[in-house]
């Protein structure tokens, strides 16, 4: 069992970071007990509070983070990293109480290198502010998640996030050069300067997706690029998802390097595209985009439009594509964002091209077939594409969740069970880019099968006392 906060521990924490940077105020405890996951928000909405941390600390340096983790070990208290609090998987929830480590004081941009095109920054820097600093120099970190305004650099990396233009530039994990990490025993390590080499195993990747369960990322160097000369967007309408998937597959396997391919299925087109963009369309709405030098982007687009024509797509022109780009984050602002009393979950997944259509159909059938009688709906779009496959960003929606929070959570978990098992059974992963957190933690052993014990052994090596973000990514504390 973990131990609660004592005066002794509090004093030790104050000695590390200063008393101004340690809090047990009720408003802080409440604020840090809820992130962007539906579950804690629902409990709060129903008048109940979810477990708070014992104490919140705001370190100002890597050494302070290390000292805090050592305190956690010494006093058997959980240590939970907090960045922007915008994760949707409950990855930052202090479900066992403990020491909440808010990283936002560590927000310095340490170096912008415009020769190697890299930026080195502390992990608590806000994504939007980092981007402003780069844009001022004509540069960009080409990772544009919907959470860019609120998430931190550490929050980009820890759950392996994807952004709107990942199709060309990759996920956050593809952009990282190196990191500084404080391990679960308080050891400070640095990964090699460059990510591609042949000097032994690439242990940096162990921390990508570990979500604070192996340690806390305190600094990272990311690849950056110039702001493009142009960004060209175009909207297309397909009669069905299958033809749209084929369009995406051709664009990727022909290596046309699209910036974005976003295809909404027919129900999403009817609901979201109409609500946010104002277009009433029947079919699968797709946006394609190309960026870079004007002549090259235009040529890429021209080749893409040839494929679209072959597949019988309706060309909706530039304006609906440009409008989507301009309003791409509007979907996540109130009043467009989902809100209570609704129940919802983004059950997104990823699979290879040979499986992705079948996976979409199977999930739609599973969700609507199992829960349709309760009013649960299913919508999806395909948003991040690789040369081998695509991600399916699908959601379940229920307009009115049961009022009783326990009943609501039970139904929510049941829908997630069906969704994830259907993904795994059809060649998909439990998740593509939101991370595992608390929400998907229980599915990890099944997802990894015989490989799971290996991950458990790695966890023990990184965090011998299992104090780091317990209950997340499948890692529980072993009973002693």
């Amino acid at each position: 069992m973990f131990k609660p906060l004592t005066e002794d521990v509090r004093r030790s924490l104050e000695a590390i970071v200063g008393s101004d940077h340690v809090s047990t105020r009720d408003t802080d405890l409440l604020t840090y007990s809820v992130d962007a996951y539906w579950m804690p928000q629902m409990w709060l909405d129903r008048g109940r509070r979810t477990p708070p941390p014992d104490v919140i600390v705001h370190p100002g340096s890597t050494e302070e983070v290390a000292a805090i983790i050592r305190i956690g070990n010494e006093h058997q208290m959980p240590v939970i990293p907090w960045g922007g609090g915008s994760g949707t998987q409950g990855g930052a929830l202090p479900i066992h109480g403990g020491i909440m480590v808010d990283m936002k004081r560590m927000n310095r941009i340490l170096e912008i290198n415009d020769r190697s095109f890299t930026v080195r920054a502390q992990a608590g820097v806000n994504g939007g502010q980092l981007e402003w600093a780069l844009n001022d120099r004509g540069l960009t970190l080409p990772h544009y998640p919907a959470s860019a305004n609120c998430a931190t650099l550490g929050g980009y990396l820890a759950p392996r996030g994807s952004g709107t233009i990942s199709t060309k530039y990759g996920k956050a994990e593809d952009l990282v050069m190196n990191m500084e990490v404080v391990l679960g025993d308080g050891t400070i390590i640095r990964t090699p300067e460059v990510p591609h080499h042949a000097s032994g195993p690439d242990f940096m990747r162990l921390f990508l997706g570990s979500e604070g369960t192996f340690g806390i990322i305190t600094e990272a160097t990311m690849q950056i690029t110039r702001l493009p000369e142009v960004r060209l967007f175009r909207a297309l309408l397909f009669k069905d998802v299958a033809t749209g998937i084929e369009m995406g597959r051709r664009l990727m396997t022909d290596r046309l390097e699209p910036l974005v391919i976003r295809m909404y299925d027919a129900p999403s087109t009817k609901l979201l595209v109409k609500r946010v963009l104002g277009y009433e369309l029947d079919g699968a709405y797709m946006i394609i985009g190309f960026d870079g030098f004007a002549d090259i982007a235009a040529l890429q687009e021209q080749r893409a439009m040839r494929i679209a024509e072959e597949l019988g797509a309706q060309d909706l022109g530039r304006e609906p594509g440009e409008k989507w780009w301009e309003k791409r984050y509007d979907f996540y602002y109130p009043p467009h964002s989902l809100k209570f009393p609704a129940m919802y979950g983004t059950i997104e997944t990823v699979a290879t091209f040979d499986k992705i259509e079948k996976l979409y159909n199977a999930k739609k059938e599973a969700i609507e077939g199992t829960f349709g009688h309760l009013g649960v709906g299913y919508i999806g779009h395909f948003s991040h594409w690789w040369r081998w496959g695509a991600s399916l960003y699908d959601r379940f929606l229920l307009k009115e969740a049961p009022q009783d929070p326990a009943e609501a959570q039970a139904l929510h978990d049941k829908i997630w069970d069906v969704a994830v098992h259907t993904s795994l059974a059809n060649g998909g992963m439990a998740n593509e880019h939101h991370g595992v957190g608390l929400k998907l933690s229980r599915f990890m052993p099944a997802q990894y099968g015989a490989a799971w014990p290996l991950l458990e052994r790695i966890k023990d090596a990184m965090d011998p006392n299992r104090i780091m973000n317990p209950g997340k990514v499948g890692f529980e504390r072993k009973s002693s």
């Binding site: 408003t27 809820v34 809100k339």
Partner: protein, 368 residues
Amino acid sequence: MTAVQRPTPDETTEGCRYCWMCRQACPVGHVTARETYTPHAWALTIESVRRGQLQWTPETTGVLYACADCGLCQAHCVTDRPLPEAIVAARTGVVARGEAVPVVRAIDEKLRAYANPYRDEAPVSSGNTGTTALFVGDAGQHLGAGEIAAATALLSAAGRKVVPICEGRSSGLLASSIGLRDTAAMLAARVIDEVARTGATEVLVLGAGDRWTFDHVYPSRLGVTWPAGVTVRDVADVLVDAQLQRQLSLRPVDAGIYAYVDPCHAARTGRSRPAPRTLLRAAFGGPQARELFWREHRGHPCGSVGGLQFTHPEIASRLSDARLADGKAAGATWLVTDDPACLHHLRGRSTEGGVPVRGLYEALAERL
């Protein structure tokens, strides 16, 4: 968003409590690095009290009063959610129930007695009349008399005769921000009376805060109507026009590298402020100008905003220190701003920050 669709304070906090999308713009969140001092957490705190999960206590009201009412969250919200209005409404409720922090009550007493929070001196009513009035306000009178004198001299050099009004009288913005709605409305009514008595058809203002107050706070927050036929203009705009018409000339000088600090509330007015920059370039050179990181649409306040200098002086100081550090990082050897309250506040910290701060109009008047 039309007025009809404008969400109520409750609808606003309901939506904003679980929305993190303006985090990057919040100055208080940035300088404190506290989750609880960010827009979503203010909405969450207000909603949690409304739902009985928290109560208004000295601790929770302290959180409520940590917002700067600078408007940057709304200015950066693509759906224009009026969270600052919802926070002000919550503060108004706290005041009405007698639960506000003691300093708010003290400010209320001062404003009611003297129409300003700075000195125990009643406003001056000169009884002058004229077609163009210069709004002095309480900060102009008690904190930035030099700026007022310099602005008047510049306007005079440009052939504009102005009548100073509301010398020592608060516009009501401070009262409005900290939830003293009745006091704010009373102050607004007196400002409007004075405008009417002067017979002015044009009121010139020095800072974005006055502009914001007359254009937005009076009609939207206080239900006070600005007199019909009376326009509000920025002094800097008038001076740029005079320069273009060759009615004003400034002797250029190389005074070193400088940077302009956009005054509090500038970002929320939705207007970029090219005029001060144009005047500065004319007097102190374009190549010597630098831009701060926190500028224009993302311009962070100086700290003298939303009553923070009274309710949370430590946050106010951090904000001003951040402006000074921003100037230093930009390579500026001096900073310049045009709002008397901002000038006073920044100057108060500039000895520690190491970058001197000058008033825009004082600096320009030296170049006449």
